[in-house]
């Protein structure tokens, strides 16, 4: 009788544990299957999305390269910035991989489109342009010259001639730290490696530069 009293609870402990483990395993396996299914359908969606966007991306990239080349050669391309934004289909894609050269063209193309599309705040733009002109006259920059400055509402493009290539390489960051640039985010584009000129795209104080096309 006594041995029965002992074994019944022991058996119930064992059964309880077995039941708990079985439930747990079932729950885990069920969840893993659900996750695997969700992941598979998500991947299928991604593949379909990538296939759809592939052609559009190729066309867009070509347009970006052409726009960038136009802007670098002094032709102010008046492309529709909204149209030439990187397609939404590429957003969230983790597989897009562009070379550093292509990426640079994309960035510059994007900034140029942003500039050509943005309305001009006449008062601010003129004031800021004068600030740059004055700063480049007053600062002791040796052979470095301000070629052109163009401001819109939230961004300016400052084109600088460095005189010689050695100067360009050593001075680009130093010029970016002049007082006239303080309080701003900026992007410097060296342009053609053989050219003496470079361009600073400078955000308005309190603003940021437009987001680059997503990678």
């Amino acid at each position: 009788m006594k041995s029965r009293t002992v074994w019944v609870p022991v058996a119930s402990v064992a059964l309880g544990l077995i039941a708990a483990i079985a439930l747990l395993r079932g729950s885990c396996i069920g969840k893993s299957e659900q996750r695997a299914d969700a992941r598979a359908s998500s991947l299928k969606r991604d593949i379909r999305e990538l296939q759809r966007s592939q052609k559009r991306l190729q066309a867009d990239r070509l347009r970006v390269v052409l726009a960038s080349q136009q802007s670098m050669s002094g032709m102010s391309g008046k492309n529709d910035a909204r149209e030439s934004q990187v397609p939404s289909s590429s957003r969230g894609s983790r597989l897009r991989r562009v070379s550093p050269q292509e990426r640079l063209l994309e960035i510059v193309g994007n900034l140029e489109r942003y500039m050509s599309d943005e309305a001009k705040d006449g008062v601010w733009a003129r004031t800021r342009e004068q600030e740059f002109e004055k700063a480049f006259k007053e600062e002791s920059l040796q052979a470095v010259e301000l070629v052109q400055v163009t401001c819109r509402t939230t961004i300016c493009r400052v084109t600088v001639d460095f005189g010689n290539l050695r100067k360009k390489r050593s001075s680009a960051t130093e010029i970016g730290r002049l007082a006239v640039f303080k309080g701003t985010e900026l992007f410097f584009h060296a342009g053609d490696q053989t050219a003496m000129r470079g361009e600073y795209y400078v955000a308005r104080r309190g603003q940021t530069l437009p987001a680059p096309p997503p990678l």
Binding site: V13, L23, L24, R103, R177, K182, L186, G198, P212
Partner: protein
Amino acid sequence: MGRRWFATIAIAGALVAGLVGLLFQPVEEARASDAKRFPGTLCRANTISQQGDLVYNMPAGAVANNYDSAYRHVICPVMSDLSHATSWGQDIWLHDNNNNPNYYIYCYLYEQDPLGGSFHQSNWVATNSTSTYTGKVKLSTSLSSYFTDGVYYWYCALPPDDSPLGKSAVMQYFLSED
């Protein structure tokens, strides 16, 4: 009494097994993210001629301007793991020990194009220039990632040594990426 005790043990055993199972349940895969902290001693002079004016490990783990007459400029490399990070947070801890209100620490964060010609520069961040002594300060900035395979670094200007108050230094800096 003994029966009750065994029944209690049986229920408790089942509950413990259940709880252990819950604790070890696989969780959703976390998004790839990373965060790192770097000592100021990783910084070096922006120009080689100023390297001798810097002092390392005074205070510990920091780089400081040991020169008593002028700013010295340092660059501090930021090592990134994620080549396609979508968001960044960067902090830098500084020790501004110069008592002259005309001197303060200011820093920029840079992203450098792998081709070498182009760069992306953050808005500057600076210790309080209106007060005479700022002491330990944390400055923060961020840059959205522009380049394919770009690299990041801080550029900081350290005021001259203002002994006996002390030297101005980069103590450490921090990167989080997601």
